[in-house]
Structure formats: C-alpha cells, structure tokens
C-alpha cells in the first residue's frame, strides 16, 4: 500500500511537531549512547524519559477498523524531537528537557519513593508490573518455511505486466477503450455502487452529490439531481428493468425514485438509518442494503413501501443482486459474508438466508449471477482476500476459486462468449476477462491509473463501462459479437420460439 504510506509520510512531514525520522541524533542522545545507557536491547538511546522505556512507542487508537476505510491515522507525538530545531515550542517540555540534559542520566540516583512511583505508573499503564514479569520463549523452533519460499504477498506488490501471450484468443479484443469520459469528484469509496447502464442506453453516474445521465446514443448529458445538503452524497444508483425509473440511494439513508422522462422525483423512501450503498430491482420490489448491514425490500407501488427487513450482515452491505429468475437475492458485506436469500418468507414469517458463505477473507462487493446456468453465482473479495469464487447456491458448494492477486470490485457475466469480466485495484487497476468454466484468463484490459470502483454492461452486452478512482469512465468494447455469429444466434433464438409454439399446439 505504497500510496497510503506516502500520504502518511507526507502528513507526518507537514505536521512538523512530530519527531523527524532519519534525523541525526541529538547531542543528548549521542551522549546517552556513549555512556552506554541501559534499556531494552532494541530501544536503546531513543527516548529520554524513563517510564517511556517500558511502554511501546507512539500508540494510536483508530476509531474504525483499520484497513477498512480510506482515512488516515493520526499519530500523537510522545517524545521530544530528535533534532536541535524546535518547530513547536508549546509542545516541548522545556523544563524537563533542560533538567535531563544538564543532569547526567544515572538511574541509580533515583530515590526509593520515585522508584515506587514509577512502578505504580507502570502497573497502572501495563496492567501488571513489567519488571516483575518473566518473559518465556518456547525453545526448539519449528522448521521454517522451505528454502526458496518467497512470501507470496510479494506478488501483490511487484506484479509486472505479463507480455501478451502467444495464446490465440480466438477473437480480437481492443486493448484501448472505445471512449474515455471525465467523472470529476467521483467518490473513491470501495463500498459504493455509483454507475448503472439502463436498457434504454442511458448511463447513470453518481458524482459526489449529483447524478448525471449520459445518453449513449446521442452523447447528451443530463444533470438529473443534486443533493440539497452539501455534505450529503449519492451512494448508489440502479435502473429498473424497463429503464424509465432510476433508484438512488443516499448517504442520509434515503432511497429516492426518479422518473427520467419528466426528470422528477416520484418517491422518497425512508426506512434505513444509515447510508444506502447497494440497490437491486426484482420487478416492482426494490431491495436496498445499508451500512448497518440491514437489507430492506421496498414495494414501490404502495404507500407502505417497506415490506421486509433482512438481517444477515453485521457490517455494510456492499454487494446486492437479485438472480435473473427472481428467486434468490445474493448479498455481500464488509463482514466477509455472502448470504443467499429466498424471494419468499419462511414458515416463521421471517427471511432467513438459505446459504451463507464464509470463505472470503475480505469484503464481498462483487456479486453476479450467471445468466446461462441457473443457481450459479460469482463473488469476488476485497484486498484481504483477492479471490473470485463460483458457487452453486442450491448445493452450497464452491465450484471453483481463483486468486486474482488484487482487490475485486465488480464481476459481470457475458452471454455472448460464456466469459466473465472482473474489475481490480492495486497494483494494475486492470479489468480481467476470464473464460468460464475453465477459469483461464482471456485478456487483461489496462488503462486506469487508479483502482477500478464499478463495472456496468451495455444493454446489447457488447460494451463494459468502468468507473475508477482516477475520475474517468472507460468504455471497453470487449464482448462485441461478430456480425456473422450474431445472425446465427438470432436464427437459433427464433428457431427455439417456433418449436415452443408447436409444442403448445
């Protein structure tokens, strides 16, 4: 996570009242080192104040789970600087520093009461007297990992672009996007679902507190809505199947329904208590997933829209998809769980998941149902997991799993070629097309300079649009049907329908 380290370092440097790393030792430190100041082996010569020697340096308590959010961790300076330059006099304990500098640091000179005091402090802070504790180590270490074993995580950080293999793809997939659009102010938040492509060929994009519609046929841009409060933002967008209504989830827990023809808001459904990061339609039922982990079903035709609550996640629901036949709802959360919900309530009147998959080691945002095989679901895990898993939801088995070596943000299936495409983050920010069911890589689409956040597919299934943290939308023509093959397919489809007609006779 080089960029996080860089940012943290930048902040550290700009703050100026924390000790400057890699600075030459101050005179008092050098003196202490020369006189061979006692202290625990690795800590020698760093901190001037005695009780600090017993404590680990610079503790900080992040308010949220580390690694799960993009915010930076503030560190509190505990030691007076390592340099003569004093940038912030108010935080320096000048009297203490002066005293310690002038008097030669000799621990034996401590009065007994002082020792008692220090001991009391140590017990208070550590919970036990560290001096009194004995540290034991189990001897006879187990065999280390075999020679030549390299930490596989290194692959994450040092991935080099593999040269295009001599493998014949069977079709030409352009490596450059068809089109690149600007998406300024797009929120770089992994857990949101900010783009969706309608069956009427409109692309809805949520940019911070506004939603824009891009007419793919004419190129026209419509500014559909803007949040009233400047601090609020749009957290998810989803088109109804017919493409005339757009559902919008917001950071202030609202689910809004907009009519595109009239560009008017039809409904504002409030039932959640935290931001709505995921939405999915099942004819007239709109399901919404919130930061609390709850999923609500809304019947948009009636006034009492909130018809059901599904509680299966303890953290934010970031992936939500109804199966194409409307029988199951798949949800993925920040708690690393994937739940499969039935469309109807159980005997007790409550919704309980028919399956729960715990194998992912990271947040599951990428959730996609296979369009040509019923009950097959693909899921992808976040940074801690990096795996794509294919499941059979009836039997609950994991049909296959593949390590994608990078955070998976989205998966889309393509009927045209029996493949699926996944969007990734650090290091390459690429889109990977995989062949199903062999799970081999067909190709990788590179171009984004920051992590991919969302993927969506065009109504004809030939193009995939990707939104990334580099504030661009790229359109990839990766599933374009060969015109000859297309005609064959249409012929096959029409043949099928005539057989059905004969059957009914």
């Amino acid at each position: 996570m080089a960029h996080l380290v860089f940012e943290a370092d930048l902040h550290g440097l700009l703050k100026l009242d924390t000790p400057i790393p890699n600075a030459p030792l101050a005179r008092w430190q050098r003196k202490a080192k020369e006189s061979g100041a006692p202290g625990p082996g690795a800590d020698a010569g760093v901190s001037p104040m005695k009780p600090a020697n017993r404590l680990p340096s610079g503790s900080k308590t992040p308010g949220r789970t580390p690694g799960k959010s993009a915010s930076k961790i503030q560190s509190t300076p505990t030691k007076a600087g390592g340099d003569r330059y004093i940038p912030n006099r108010s935080t320096m304990q000048m009297d203490m520093a002066n005293f310690l500098l002038t008097k030669e640091n000799d621990p034996a000179e401590d009065s007994p009461t002082k020792k008692e005091q220090q001991k009391a402090w140590a017990v208070n802070l550590n919970g036990f007297d560290v001096e009194e504790a004995k540290i034991l180590r189990l001897s006879g270490k187990p065999q280390n990992a075999p020679e030549g074993y390299q930490n596989n995580l290194k692959v994450l950080y040092s991935q080099k672009t593999t040269p295009t293999s001599s493998r014949k793809n069977g079709r030409y997939i352009p490596s450059m996007p068809d089109r690149i659009l600007d998406a300024p102010e797009i929120r770089n938040d992994y857990y949101l679902n900010l783009i969706d492509w309608s069956s009427q060929n409109f692309l809805a994009v949520a940019l911070d507190n506004s939603v824009y519609l891009w007419n793919c046929t004419s190129g026209e841009i419509i500014h559909l809505l803007q949040m009233e409060h400047p601090d609020d933002y749009v957290s998810s967008v989803s088109w109804v199947k017919e493409g005339n209504y757009l559902a919008v989830g917001t950071s202030n827990a609202e689910v809004q329904l907009w009519d595109i023809q009239q560009q008017k808001r039809l409904r504002n459904m409030v039932s959640h208590s935290s931001r709505v990061g995921s939405l999915s339609w099942n004819s007239y039922i709109l399901s919404s997933g919130a930061r609390t982990g709850h999923i609500h079903h809304h019947d948009v035709r009636v006034a009492e829209h909130h018809v059901a609550t599904l509680s299966g996640h303890t953290q934010e629901v970031c992936g939500l998809k109804w199966s194409l036949d409307g029988r199951y709802l798949a949800s993925g959360g920040n708690d690393n769980l994937v739940n499969i919900w039935p469309a109807t309530q159980g005997d007790s009147g409550d919704y309980a998941p028919v399956q729960t998959f715990t194998q992912h080691q990271g947040a599951v945002k990428a959730v996609a149902w296979c369009p040509w095989q019923s009950n097959v679901l693909a899921t992808g895990g976040g940074t801690s997991d990096r795996h794509i898993r294919i499941w059979n939801v009836c039997s609950g088995t994991c049909l296959s799993a593949v390590d994608a070596h990078s955070q998976v943000c989205s998966i889309l299936w393509s009927t045209n070629y029996k493949e699926f495409i996944s969007g990734h983050g650090f290091v390459q920010n690429q889109l990977v097309i995989w062949k199903y069911p062999t799970m081999t890589k067909v190709t990788e689409l590179r171009g984004h300079t920051a992590r991919v956040l969302n993927l969506t597919m065009s109504p004809d299934g030939s193009m995939v649009a990707s939104a990334a943290a580099d504030e661009t939308l790229r359109f990839w023509r990766c599933f374009e049907m060969d015109p000859i093959k297309k005609k064959e397919k249409e012929k096959a489809n029409s043949a099928k329908t005539s057989i059905i007609h004969q059957g009914i006779r």
Binding site: P62, P66, K134, R137, L138, N151, L153
Partner: protein, 206 residues
C-alpha cells in the same frame, strides 16, 4: 458440539474461559502465519470456526509446536499466571524484529474461588472473537510487506516467581525500534479479557 451446548447452559467457568482464550490464540496465531505469509499458503487448510472460514496449518511439526503452546496456555490461564502473549515476526537473516503482535490478558483473580459460573452467552463471546479475527485478516491492507523470509517466535509474559517449565527458556521482550502501533478490538469472557494490538517497523522512505 454437545460439550459446547452444555457449556452454554452452564455459563462461563474459569476452566471454560481458559479453553476459549487458548482456542482463540491457536486460531489467531494460525491466521497471522497465513496472512503475513510466514509459511506457504498451500500448507494451510480451511476450517469452520466462530462462524468464519479460518485457515489452519497442516504442517505436522508446526501443528505440534502450536499445540504445546496452547496446552501450556490453558494451564496457565486457569491459574491466572499469564499476562501477555506475543507473536514476534523477525527476519531470518538479520534477526531484526519486523512485526510484533501483542495480546494482553487481564484475568479476574476472584474467579478462582467462585463456584457459580458467570453469565455470558457463548454467542456473544464468539461474535467478539470473530471481530478480532476479522481485524487480523484485514490488517494486510496496511501492514508493510515482509520482504525477506521470516520466522516467528512466541513469547509469554508470566509472573516472576513462576517456575520455568521444561521446553521453555527466558527471553527478552524483543521490542521493535521506531515502531508504528495499531490497537485492535478486544474481547472478554467476563473472567479473561484479551486486548490485541500489532506493532510494526515504520517503513523508512527510500
């Protein structure tokens, strides 16, 4: 499974609490070894525990080693003699400590004399343990990559006057110089409380 069900009805006893905490350490240490890449991932297998899929090692020597520690921990936890468990990850060539996982244990000594078990549901404890393990898994997003091959060490802080059992030897604390620290969630069984944190070497800017 039956034992667990019985335990649920009975509440938490000192022995039960020691078992829960020792079990947590076993799975926690396995998770750390897998996530930090100390051992090849192929040597780990998935098991279901705490409602999660956890990875535990299949290497027989390592399994043996960890079992010894866990058994010893159980004993000491029962007698409230252990204060801290530390997993030290150091580079094999330079012997430099790169990461230090510290689990502080607070033991309620009054529980030793109690006959009535304490009230806390297994489920609540499991939920808390689950959060800690998930946090350990998520730490890979900010912990610096361990470039060189690493080995791990287990340190236990006990009372000064405790006799050193065979197979164990005294050691130093093996702190990290210039470390960055992150405190993780804690869990409690009402008799034992475990606080977790990880300290890692601050990345020096090239």
């Amino acid at each position: 499974m039956a034992r667990q069900a019985v335990r649920e009805q009975q509440g938490i006893t000192l022995r039960g609490s020691a078992e829960i905490v020792a079990e947590f350490f076993s799975y926690g240490i396995n998770s750390i070894l897998y996530q930090r890449g100390i051992y090849p991932p192929e040597t780990f297998t998935r098991v279901q525990k705490y409602g999660l899929t956890l990875l535990v090692t299949t290497d027989p020597e390592l399994k043996n080693y960890l079992n010894n520690v866990v058994e010893q921990m159980k004993e000491w936890l029962c007698k409230c003699l252990v204060q801290r468990l530390v997993v030290v990850i150091s580079s094999i060539e330079s012997n430099e400590v790169l990461e230090r996982w510290q689990f502080d244990i607070e033991c309620d000594k009054t529980a030793k004399d109690e006959t009535v078990p304490r009230e806390k549901s297994q489920k609540a404890i499991q939920d808390e343990i689950r959060s800690v393990i998930r946090q350990i898994t998520a730490t890979v997003t900010f912990l610096p990559l361990l470039e060189t091959a690493c080995a791990f060490d287990l340190l236990i802080y006990t009372d000064k006057d405790m006799a050193v059992p065979e197979k164990w030897e005294e050691s130093g604390p093996q702190f990290i110089a210039n470390s960055e620290e992150v405190r993780l969630r804690s869990f409690t069984t009402t008799i034992h409380k475990v606080n977790s944190m990880v300290a890692y070497k601050k990345d020096s800017f090239p």
